[in-house]
């Protein structure tokens, strides 16, 4: 039996309640920022406005830089994250943090009031008063300082800055470089777009005789389907994504990658992703001309870019692991292999996600290719069946109750934002009667049996345990930790359309697996939830739950 019972459900001890408190405070700050950015809009750039008004027009840039800085610092801090949280736990053992939360909330209320008075008239509404802007800045600064003090005492922050000054400086440089790169790309996208247009046009001429092109306005296509190459389609978004991915990947996996050889991947990756974008645009016109204009402009246009990026990134991972020129294999014991338990837990999920991305690129509106990904996932499960046969899949009746409770929460939250119950039946009506019956059969089978199994193996079988211990098969990986519980549940929720209901459901399934340490409990709970949703769809006509 590979999945052993839980041995310790206690908190890890060293971190105290800091992970929970910090998670809540970070969630609160993100929510506040989201609310402010959606609620209020800057005045927009205009040469007749004074300099401080011009500065407020760049709020989006400031947030981008702060986001990139936080992300880069998190990556650099990752090896010392546990140590950092433990030191915060010690520093806040007898620390009254909640008065700072009250002050933070008060300051945020002040910031909201100041922003409403200053920006409340909507975008482009004349000049902004200097005193209003100063009030916003003061309230914003107070909101941030009180938030920091709610997280930990000032002395702890001082020690953190002193210890991490190098990482902070690198993160700041990386964030500024990312922002400057974006600015340069936006300023100089035209030469890139011209090259993209030139090559895409040549590529399209291989299959079509009636290619039309207007380089001055970046339009090209055929007599039946014409596209305009917008700045974001010129290729720089892909170049930015590949550059960031390679920088992160080479940094995080530097122990198994041969440097400086692997730095060659930067020019290779940039050229490859640009060529992939050229192929995407040519294929977009081909699909629009020969198959469906709606599909080309809808599903394919939005998904093909992500598909090519993921394909290239996976290619880089493969060659840095397999090609001797890029791989530091000699630093590894040749007797090492990928843990087959990780393969069994993760590969079906990766196949499900990969096939989902591919089918999404070739459908528009109604998800008619759903059966394909279920077939691909079932084939993977069957291929790995010998591993699953060794596991303990026992379950308890309590997991049925947990699944039913998750269903009630899901439906309650779904009722707050009712969906379109007519869209999916309209899509089914476009199929023949027997085809529609087959599609519904696959949807029920996939939704109730396959997807819960695959998702639970990935999120509760692997992620929940991997976040609790570096060896996810070790007994200590089965203990309860706030970090693994919250992070795995939020990750599960974010990947579902209904992020809040998804997070709460993820928490319920995690609790199911914590009770006895059996993955089977989480799988059954998830199957019950999805089964009851399927009943709601088919019996009550709540088709939006499946749309």
């Amino acid at each position: 039996m590979l999945l052993k019972p839980a041995t310790d459900l206690q908190n890890s001890g060293g971190m105290g309640d800091v992970p929970v408190r910090w998670s809540l405070l970070i969630a609160g700050l993100i929510a506040e920022l989201s609310f402010l950015t959606v609620r209020f809009h800057g005045p927009g750039l205009s040469p007749d406005k004074v300099w401080w008004v011009q500065l407020t027009a760049h709020t989006h840039d400031y947030l981008s830089i702060v986001g990139a800085f936080a992300g880069a610092f998190a990556v650099l801090l990752a090896p010392r994250l546990k140590l950092t949280i433990e030191s915060a736990s010690q520093a806040t053992a007898s620390y009254a943090w909640w008065p700072w939360v009250l002050l933070h909330l008060g300051a945020f209320a002040g910031l909201y009031a100041a922003a409403a008075a200053t920006f409340g008239q909507g975008p482009g509404a004349g000049q902004i008063p200097a005193d209003g802007l100063l009030a916003c800045l003061a309230a914003g600064l107070a909101t941030l300082v009180f938030w920091l003090l709610a997280c930990a005492p000032m002395a702890w922050w001082g020690a953190l800055v002193a210890r991490e000054r190098r990482s902070l400086a690198i993160a700041f440089i990386a964030a500024m470089a990312a922002w400057l790169g974006g600015q340069l790309a936006e300023m100089y996208w035209r030469p890139l777009a011209s090259g993209t247009l030139f090559l895409a046009e040549r590529l399209l001429r291989l299959g079509y005789a009636d290619v039309v092109s207007d380089p001055a306005h970046f339009n090209f296509g055929t007599s039946e389907f014409l596209v305009n190459i917008a700045p974001e389609c010129s290729g720089y978004e892909g170049i930015g994504l590949v550059t960031v991915f390679l920088a992160l990947y080479l940094w995080l996996f530097r122990s198994v990658i041969r440097l400086p050889h692997a730095l060659l991947l930067f020019p290779i990756g940039i050229a490859a992703v640009w060529l992939a974008n050229v192929a995407r645009i040519a294929l977009l016109v081909a699909i629009g001309t020969s198959y469906s204009a709606d599909l080309a402009a809808g599903g394919f246009h939005s998904h093909a870019g992500w598909l090519s990026f993921v394909g290239l990134a996976l290619g880089f991972i493969a060659i840095t692991h397999r090609m001797q020129f890029f791989s530091a294999n000699d630093r590894h014991d040749p007797g090492d292999e990928i843990n087959p338990i990780a393969t069994a837990l993760l590969v079906p999920f990766l196949v499900l996600m990969g096939s989902l991305m591919i089918t999404a690129a070739f459908t528009q509106g109604f998800d008619r290719l759903y059966p394909i990904r279920i077939v691909a996932t079932v084939a993977t499960l069957l291929y790995l069946r010998a591993l699953y046969a060794q596991w303990d899949w026992s379950w308890s009746w309590d997991s049925v109750a947990i699944g039913a409770a998750a269903f009630i929460v899901w439906i309650a939250l779904a009722r707050l934002t009712p969906g379109d119950d007519a869209a999916l039946p309209a899509g089914l009506a476009s199929l023949g009667t027997s085809e529609a019956a087959v599609w519904i059969g696959f949807r029920v089978f996939g939704s109730v049996f396959i997807v819960p199994l695959v998702e639970e193996m990935a999120f509760r079988g692997y992620l929940l345990r991997r976040l609790a211990a570096s060896d996810f098969t070790a007994p200590e990986a089965r203990r309860f930790t706030w970090t693994s519980f919250l992070f795995s549940s939020v990750a599960f929720g974010l990947l579902h359309g209904r992020w809040l209901a998804g997070t709460l459901a993820g928490m319920a399934y995690a609790l199911a697996v914590y009770r006895r340490g059996k993955l089977g409990d989480a799988v059954v709970a998830h199957m019950i939830t999805n089964g009851l949703i399927a009943v709601s769809v088919l019996a009550a006509g709540a088709w939006s739950l499946w749309s």
């Binding site: 996600m353 990947l495 939830t529």
Partner: protein, 56 residues
């Protein structure tokens, strides 16, 4: 008091985020329509290939 404040922060986060962005309607399965799906594939593959052990 600390627990009440924690609860208040949690509820405020949910309320503010819900107010800012309407909760999207989707099926109870993973949504492929965002870059998050692409990132999850990459992170999943990286996690998978990093899980090495002594061959048996």
């Amino acid at each position: 008091m600390a627990k009440i404040i924690s609860l208040a922060v949690a509820l405020m986060s949910i309320a503010l985020t819900s107010a800012a962005y309407a909760v999207p309607v989707a099926a109870p399965e993973i949504d492929a329509t965002s870059g998050l799906a692409a990132m999850s594939v990459l992170v999943g593959v990286l996690a998978w290939v990093s899980e090495r052990r002594r061959a048996r």
